[in-house]
Each structure stands twice: as structure tokens, then as C-alpha cells.
Symmetry: C3
């Protein structure tokens, strides 16, 4: 009876292609979220830092960082999609459709777009496309994500349940520059480099260029737990020393994304807004006392239609300890030791 | 001379039945408090999470959690009532009269309603009734509380001061369902179960039912100190390793209450609002690195006059480590090992 | 190429007397900053705590603590002034010209007012005067500061670069009482002692009086890092265990200032507003697990023109562990063991 009222999460058998899940707990964003984000991550991008700067580039009211909206919207999907996940396998086609501002209330809906049972018969891969909308029903963020989840029959024992028909969705390797959404009104034509903290604009970055962001941050359990709770992410491995055999609290992958993005200010101070996330891999787990550093590689550059606006496609790599050699993979093609995150995204930057 | 300007707190001799104390430091509640509360406690109740959801049940402007108001109002009483407390013995007759919203400023006044010297002549019990009012002078919260405090004559030596006349107030074992205050305008008749995260309403809960809330949170010093400071609670045992012989920082009891209440979302997601606290015992102390779990027992159910509104009387038990057996007391009547908190409260839930 | 885009900070050779630096990243203050400040520091001063109390003394909208503005404004100067600092040598002539309120956006500009190469030829002292202005261009705070920075030629090797002409600015040992700025509208004539938490007004303090603030707070890495990030202070020694040989994260000196100021409430509850900082020395470094206590000495008292307003000039001393003897210096004139901070400031207090 008690189990009936607590959330057991969904197992592989519970998902069907075409199924739509309205996730619980709409969440209103406030100035408190902005302040906590700035306390937990060393962010200094001028748009989220200053209402005046944001207004000067056409963004009023004052938006919070794109990742605030992303983490909140993503957190809503965890109880239904990944509570029984073995692994988060990837993201794709994540686009930020409009800025999130204090007072906005975000809700998230997901549709199952793919299923594939693994050959071991014990787990399967579930693909979902999730959409976060605001209180006006406008799409703020959408993304695809796939996770490996346990089969109930493997966890609870008994006869193995049948495998569903395999459906693997076609997902773009990256959002095309032409498909990036520029926030309405964004205008970088009178952009203030000095206020933003860097003279380097779109034209100063070359494809293939790598930037060592130099600074590092040592993780604490208190900080990653506070951040992860703020997003209402409920996966117990992040919060409880009795949830894992090693007694360590696993740092939420999104915490490493936000930390690396904030560290990237030192070298990418004008990459003001995240427009899209093309792909992301949480290569290895992070824990308290790890010192996280980051480096970026320029993958592509594009000019967009909005006044003064360009886009940089960047690989953002977070590492345990600083790797001045900025090595992503070893000769055998494996990720180099210490790589925590490999994120492929588009940022908007003045031309 | 210096002692004359610092607050020594009150000793048993300083209290008299009928005495009224206006506590210092009115405190304005802000959206920053909401965000910090959500960062420190894993709360997901839809009313405090979403201004849109709150408005949809008749609550606008957007209230913060009842415990935000309670902790702030309670914290004001500490310098005058319990700075020299040996122990917090209990609470009773706590009612939430109206929602607290950002912009409200809370002040607290206490009246001494009982005194009883202990037979050892060194300590005594003080009963106070405290009332928190907002900037319009409206009562937001009131409660009774009793603490054991040192006698000055025992602490400072010298002749034992005389005992006061014993006055033990009559306090109700629980607030009657009929005496619960439903916030003006609360209407659960068009309540959205999916948004709230659970289909279980008043009628789905049975008296005697116990719910294991499953999840756990491991405590850190940074988080409990931040929470306790937010409430301007000044008891030094919470903040300083040199305040206790064991060098450990004692976790504020209210921190465990808020943590257990937040954990109870998993099984009680629709128990949206706390209407009253009937009784509470901090059974054993909590410290950093303890992993807190919680379970609840349904003590009573009631239908209230407001549209769609019912009430659940719940025992909320916090434990060090998870106790799937949900054992409150051993055969000899003592609390089971690991029980940290035994709280008896009323929550409002849709019928 | 990558180094070209990250900030190497300025070396001694990069500064010239008369040079003006517009620091990056304007920062909007919010209610989230107020809440975080109250979570990280045990502050209970009635003006920043209560919008109602603040309005009752003529301050509306509701100001945040002066040190919130100071830390934010100061943090902006770090990447340009002290990223390569060997030591922060001092402050002088810091005045708070108008209250900072949520919604204000602060920007900081510095002018180099002095240079002196050290005899070792490897380092030099740089004096700057920094001015923080709000979105209306009004001066909120200004101060002078001097730091010892490395010479590039010493760090990068090669021929020693020439020494600049020595210019040592004349700085006042303290702001004169007559030069203190009282916030427009401040009126203490109907000041509420009970609400503020103390009956002690200007006339109750005597020059030479020392007050032991009694309470202590044990530092955690999570809290000082969150505070320092909030101020967008980027000095890596505060955040990364790989930035110092001992693997410890150095606590930002301003964190100790705010902690000591908050602790001083217990004895100085009516010293509501900081009007000026005359001088400050970070005598020894602080680290996590240190327990910080504080005591104050009254240096001067003054009556100001504003209704009911007086000023206390105070020495605020923070110590590692409690020093009930309140000893600043030993017989040989050196700071006593355990002294962390020696701050000289003016506070506004009701007459």
C-alpha cells in the first residue's frame, strides 16, 4: 500500500513510442534563482549579470542564464524518465526558443520517440523529446534525450517481458546555424566590449582554435546538492551517501555543464547566450573534492540575420584537474583520462 | 561593561507569567527566501513551486512554504526565550492563519503562559505563546512552546533564588479539525493532479496507513548553517565548533522538520499546505554526515468547508538512516534508535 | 593564441599614474543577494532585515547591507588590479554615498593614483581609487586601495624592466566625521529600540570601550566560495585546491569582514549603517574549519546633522578562536596571534 503512493519511476516496459508524459510541478523562476546561480557558478556574462546591459542589447525584462531554464525544465523529466536510468546516453537538438525571465513558470512535457531493448534483455534505451513551455504556452526550450533504463522483469525477477518493436529516431548531429533561434529584439550593433569584459568578437575566433580557460573550481557536496535541488532533480544518487556502494554523492551532470560554461567566460566572455546544445556526453562521474577545469574548441562560426549577431559552435570540455594540452581523446580514440564532459553547443556572440 | 551590551539571554528567574516580550528584528520575506528554501530542502509541492498553480487554487500573490514563515517567526524568539535553554521540550497549538508572501514583514511577540521550577532547583520550564504578525498587524502564525532553561543562581552560583508559583497551562493535545484555518480563497475544486504530481487525494488515505518516503538526504554543515542563519536563529551551538564539547555543530531542529516535510512529497504530493502543528519532539540530535529519511502515518482525516478542501492529520517521523519497518517506539515504549523527529501536524489536501 | 583571449591580469609595468580602467561586468543587485547575504552571514541589523523598519527611518526602497554593494563593486576590480597581486596592502577613504537597493546596477571604474617599485626590483605597489556608480551614473561607493603586484619581467624573466617614477598618494588616516555622507532622508528621531534589538545608543558608548561579541562561526569552503562568487571575485586562490601549495582554499578577506560585522550585532545592534571604511588590514589568512570570533573598540563618537543620527568610529577585530582579553597587539607591537582582521570604520547609530 505504501509503495502505491511513492513514485517507483518508470521501467523500460512502461514506455511506448508516441506516449506523452506531462511532468509534475510547474516551477516559477525568480531573482532568487539568478542569485543562487551566481553564488554556485562563477558566471560573469554581462547579459545575465546586468539588467542594464541586457536592455542595451534588446533583452528586457532581464533574462536568467539559459541553463537555469534548461536545468529546471530537465529536472521535471527525471521522476518519469530517468529515475531508473542506468545511464544518460545523450542529448540532441536542444534549442532555446525564448529567454526565460523572473516570473515565468515553466512546465515540461515529453513524448517517447524511440525504444530499443538491449541484447542482454535486462535494459533498454528510451528516446524522448521534451518541451518546456511558459505560462503563456509558448515553447521556451525543447530537446531530445536518450537514456538506458532497467526492465522491470530484470529488476523484479520472473519471466522476461517481451521486447518492443525497435524504433530509433533520426536525430541531427547538430542544429544547423540557420535553424538557431535568435531572441526577439536581440541587437548587438551597439555592443559594449569593455562592459562585457573582452574585445574578442566572432571574427576573432578560428575554427579549430582551442582555449584553455585556466581557472578551476573544487567541488563541494553542499554546493552541488543545493544546485541540483534548485532544479527539483530528485535522483537520490546526488543527495544520499546510502544510495551508492561507494558512499559518495554523484554530482549531477548539469552541475558540471554550468560550472564549465561559467569557467569559459575567461576566453569567451562575449559568447553571451546559449542558442542550442547539439550533443553532450557525461564522460566520467564527478564528486566532491574534484577540481574542475575547462577548455573549449571552436567547431564552427556563423553570421546570423539579427543585427550584429553571430554564432560560435563550441566544444566545451570539462576535466578533472587542468589539462593544458587540451587533449580530448587518446590515440586509441578513447576519451583522455580526466575528461568529465564533452558538450557541443552554439553560443550567440557579437560580430 | 561589555557584557552589559551583549545579550546574555534570559534565565528562569527573568520570566514571569503574563510577561510580554516584543522580539527584535522584523524580517521581510522575499523571493530570495523561496529560492534558498528550494535549494536547501528537496521540496516540490506545487503551490510554493508555481505562482500559476497557486493562483489556480485561489492563492495569489504567491505564498512561500508555511515553514519559511514559521522558522523566521520562531527564530526571533530564540535570543529572548531559549538562548539559555537546556532543551526544547515541545510545541502545541501552532496554527497558520494566513499565507506569507514575498514583501510581508514578520514580527513576533511572546507571552509567558507558564512556569515550573524543576525539583533540582537548577532549572525550570517556561511556557510561552508566540504570535507572528505581518506589516498590517494581521496574525500570520501563532503557537505555544515550552523549554527548560537554566536558573541564573545555578549558573552564576550563590544562594539559590526562590521558585516562582507553578503555573502549567492547559494546552490541547491537537488542534481540532474544526479549528483549522483555511486560507481565504483556497479552492481545490479544479485541482490539477498531474501538475501536482500525484493522483492521491484525501479519500485515498486511511487512518493508520504508513508511508515510507524512500528518499534520503545526507546533511552538510554548510547547508544547515545557511538555513538556520536565514531564520536569524542565533543559538551558537548550530554555528561554532567551539560551542560544544564534542566540537560538532548541532543541526537546528527546524532544519530536520523542513527536510522531512520536503521528503514527504514522495507519497504525500497533494498535502499542499500545513494548516497546524499539533505537537513536535526533537527526539535525538542530528549532525553533518547523518543521512535523513522520513516516513509518515495518517492519524486522522477530515473534510473542511472550503471547496474541495480536506485535511490529513499526519505523524511525520524523521530517522537517521532509512527504517523500512517504520517503527516509532520499541516494546518498552522508548523511541526506536535513529528516530530524530516526531511531528504531529495537519495538512490541507484536495478531497 | 589561446593565452591571447584569456585574462592574464595586469603586472606592475602595465600601470601608469592617471590611467583609468573601466572594469567589466555591470551587476544588478536583487532580493536574491539580500537573502544569500543573510544565509551566509549571521546579520540581524533591522534596516537591511526589514523593509518596514527601513521605511520607518526614511529609507525606502529597501537598501541592502552596505557591504553587499562594496563586495560587488570591489569584485569588479580584481581581474584588472589584483589578479597578480602578491598582497592586498590596505584600504582608505572608503565612503558610502547612497544606499544600494534591489534593481540597482553597479559598475566600477578605477584610476591609478600611485606607483612605487620595491627595492627588490621584482614587485611594486599600485594605488588605485575606485568608484562604483549606479545605472543613473550616481556615485554609490568610492575607496582607495593599494596592492603589491609582480613585475612581468620578474615573472617572465629576461631583462628587468625600468622602474616608474615613484608617486605615493596622500591618503587620509580616516574619513573626518564631518565628511561622512548620511543617506538622504535618514531620520532616527522615531527609532524603535525594541525592534532593533538594543537600547544602546550613541551616548551609551565611550571612546576606548571594547565589546566582546561573544558568538563564533566556523568557516566552511562551500559558504566562502558561494559568497565570493556572488561578488564575481575571480581570484583563483579562493576556489581551487590546486591554486596553492598547501591545497587549501584561501578565504576572501571580505568574507571575514562581513562575518565580523554580522557578529558585531551582539553589542552593536543599533550601529545600523556603515558610512565609511577608514582602513583595513587582513592580518592573517583564514581557512575552512577556522572558528571566527570578533570584538570591537570604540575609537570615536560624533553627532551628525541628520535628525537623531550619530556616528561611531569602530575598530572591528576578527580573531581565530575567541579572545576574551581582546588583545590587538603584543608588547613588541606585532598583531596578537589569531588576529585575522583589523578594520577601522564609521557606523551610523541613533543618538
Amino acid at each position: 500500500m505504501t509503495a502505491a503512493k511513492t513514485n517507483p519511476g518508470n521501467f523500460f516496459e512502461d514506455f511506448a513510442v508516441g506516449q506523452v508524459i506531462d511532468h509534475a510541478t510547474p516551477r516559477t523562476i525568480t531573482e532568487g534563482d539568478r542569485a543562487l546561480y551566481g553564488a554556485i557558478y562563477p558566471t560573469r556574462f554581462a547579459v545575465p549579470s546586468s539588467a542594464e546591459f541586457a536592455a542595451s542589447v534588446g533583452l528586457a525584462p532581464h533574462p536568467v542564464e539559459e541553463l537555469v531554464g534548461f536545468h529546471v525544465a530537465f529536472g521535471k523529466t527525471v521522476p518519469d524518465v530517468s529515475l531508473n536510468a542506468v545511464a544518460n546516453l545523450g542529448y540532441a537538438e536542444c534549442r532555446f526558443h525564448l529567454p526565460v525571465v523572473p516570473g515565468d513558470t515553466l512546465s515540461t512535457r515529453s513524448e517517447v520517440i524511440g525504444l530499443k531493448q538491449n541484447s542482454n534483455g535486462r535494459t533498454g534505451v528510451v528516446w524522448v523529446r521534451s518541451t518546456a513551455t511558459n505560462q503563456r504556452g509558448e515553447v521556451a526550450i525543447d530537446w531530445a534525450r536518450w537514456v538506458m533504463v532497467h526492465k522491470r522483469s530484470a529488476v523484479e525477477g520472473g519471466a522476461e517481458s517481451p521486447a518492443p518493436e525497435t524504433v530509433v529516431p533520426a536525430l541531427a548531429p547538430a542544429v544547423e546555424a540557420g535553424d538557431l533561434v535568435v531572441p526577439a529584439g536581440l541587437d548587438f550593433s551597439s555592443y559594449d566590449d569593455a562592459a562585457a569584459g573582452s574585445p574578442h568578437r566572432l571574427g576573432d575566433y578560428e575554427v579549430g582554435e582551442r582555449i584553455d580557460h585556466v581557472d578551476g573550481v573544487t567541488l563541494t557536496d553542499a554546493e552541488h546538492m543545493m544546485a541540483t535541488r534548485l532544479w527539483q532533480n530528485t535522483a537520490k544518487v546526488h543527495f544520499s551517501t546510502d544510495a551508492r556502494p561507494d558512499g559518495r554523492r554523484l554530482v549531477y551532470g548539469g552541475h558540471v555543464i554550468s560550472l564549465a560554461r561559467a569557467l569559459s567566460f575567461n576566453g569567451l566572455a562575449n559568447a553571451q547566450l546559449i542558442a542550442a546544445i547539439n550533443a553532450g556526453a557525461h564522460v566520467s562521474p564527478a564528486f566532491a573534492d574534484d577540481t574542475v577545469h575547462a577548455w573549449s574548441e571552436v567547431i564552427d562560426v556563423a553570421e546570423l540575420d539579427a543585427p550584429g549577431v553571430g554564432a560560435l559552435r563550441l566544444r566545451l570540455v570539462a576535466t578533472r584537474g587542468r589539462d593544458e594540452s587540451m587533449t580530448l581523446r587518446t590515440e586509441d580514440g578513447k576519451y583522455a583520462d580526466g575528461v568529465l564532459l564533452d558538450l557541443d553547443y552554439w553560443a550567440l556572440i557579437p560580430r
